[in-house]
Symmetry: C2
Subunit: 229 residues, 2 copies
DNA sequence: TACTGTGAAACGGTTCACAGCC
DNA sequence: GGCTGTGAACCGTTTCACAGTA
């Protein structure tokens, strides 16, 4: 059930790290949701939470919550449940959001500007330190405190700030070109808001967010009345 | 493998409709991706596509593509593949995007305004016909041709236009209240951009889009170098 | 008593492999 | 030959049920 390596686990580590490839994607997704819920709970002065409480808040079973967390270590206290603050720290460490991430945004259209104004990113440790556009009209200004540069300076600035993530907010037609530039500049991960499938090298992680796709899922549910969620 | 009812299938229907609850959520998601890819192909004058071509464009196996489509009918032509235009129409019909959907947007902050300017919605048949905000500053103007109303008029306008979907673009703290108002007004589905879990009646479909969650998935992949996607 | 952690069973989705068709 | 549609095998995830712990 744990790493394929037969050796014993290291003496006593705070957070166990099974081969990440062994962790289902769905588990990582739920981790984010647990984290969100735990913050709400802590803000409401709740110090401790059981797997069944946390689960029912999100529509999951208690066993699922426990199994998910058990992939990474032993965070619970029998008879007590999970201490919210402790678990928050553990999940942040697992997700890697206990470190600060520097982010570049490419494309300062409607969506790009909106995201620059979104406080939620910084709250989770994601700092947009530079934005890029190829339209000379938009240059040399700052938006929401973020400096705007011409696309020509992408590699230079990415390296200078050691930027590790890129957000693609350009139209579908230019998204692949932008992705190639970001990869060349050395980012490790990409969030793609354009409605196209990017082809990227193996070693680059990516997440696609397509708003039309989300609406289509909803349309299907409503049209077929499947009462989902 | 098909409906539990043992009777024979109806004589010859264009699109078979198994109990939607039997269709895995993941399948519906991929349908959206197929649709997106098919449009690109058709725009590039490709008339016909095989399951293996379509699959490899998206990183799926050929069998997966065929199985997914076979949930809904027999759209392929042995020896030929799938005709792009035909399949586009079939998928649109399955997803329900062959009909027009009227949409209300609530919350005209950064994100709300950006989405009002997003052309992609209208292209897929989603029409935002009214936007709402509780800030009197923002009233009586139009943005991107969409009229803005005060929240007080939500029920009235939703009923008047027979609006069926709602987009929640308000902060987390007010999202649940807005959701309750939308449900009361009679929408059938909700897209929630606020980082909270909504509690909704069974019969309302919903989709949550949380940008921080997406970034966290990416952060995990990069931090654990799992080369995902 | 109240709860976690976890093997084992159950479930559901994906892949395989091939019959059938153009 | 090329390709779809699909039962069956396979595999990964979820749920069950209970031993273990404070």
């Amino acid at each position: 059930m744990f790493p394929k390596t037969i050796g014993m686990p290291p003496p006593k580590q705070k957070i166990e790290t099974p081969d990440p490839l062994d962790v289902p994607k769905a588990v990582v997704n739920r981790l984010s949701l647990y984290l969100r819920e735990l913050r709400h709970l802590l803000r409401a002065q709740k110090m401790t939470v059981s797997s069944s409480e946390l689960g029912s808040l999100l529509g999951f079973t208690d066993a699922q919550v426990r199994k998910d967390l058990a992939y990474f270590g032993h965070f619970g206290h029998p008879g007590i449940g999970y201490r919210c603050e402790e678990l928050i720290n553990a999940i942040r460490s697992i997700l890697g959001t206990d470190q600060e991430w520097t982010v570049a945004m490419v494309g300062i259209g409607n969506l790009g500007r909106a995201l620059l104004g979104y406080r939620g990113f910084a709250d989770q440790g994601f700092h947009v330190v530079a934005a890029f556009d190829s339209d000379p009209e938009k240059l040399h200004r700052q938006i929401e405190g973020v400096p705007i540069y011409h696309m020509d300076r992408l590699t230079e600035i990415v390296r200078q700030h050691n930027i590790r993530l890129g957000l693609i907010c350009v139209p579908a037609t230019t998204a692949q070109k932008v992705a190639d530039r970001l990869v060349e500049a050395g980012v490790a991960g990409i969030v793609n808001f354009a409605p196209v499938t990017l082809s990227l090298p193996e070693e680059i992680s990516s997440v696609g967010v397509d708003l039309s796709t989300e609406l289509e899922q909803l349309s299907f549910s409503v049209a077929n009345r499947d009462h989902s969620r």
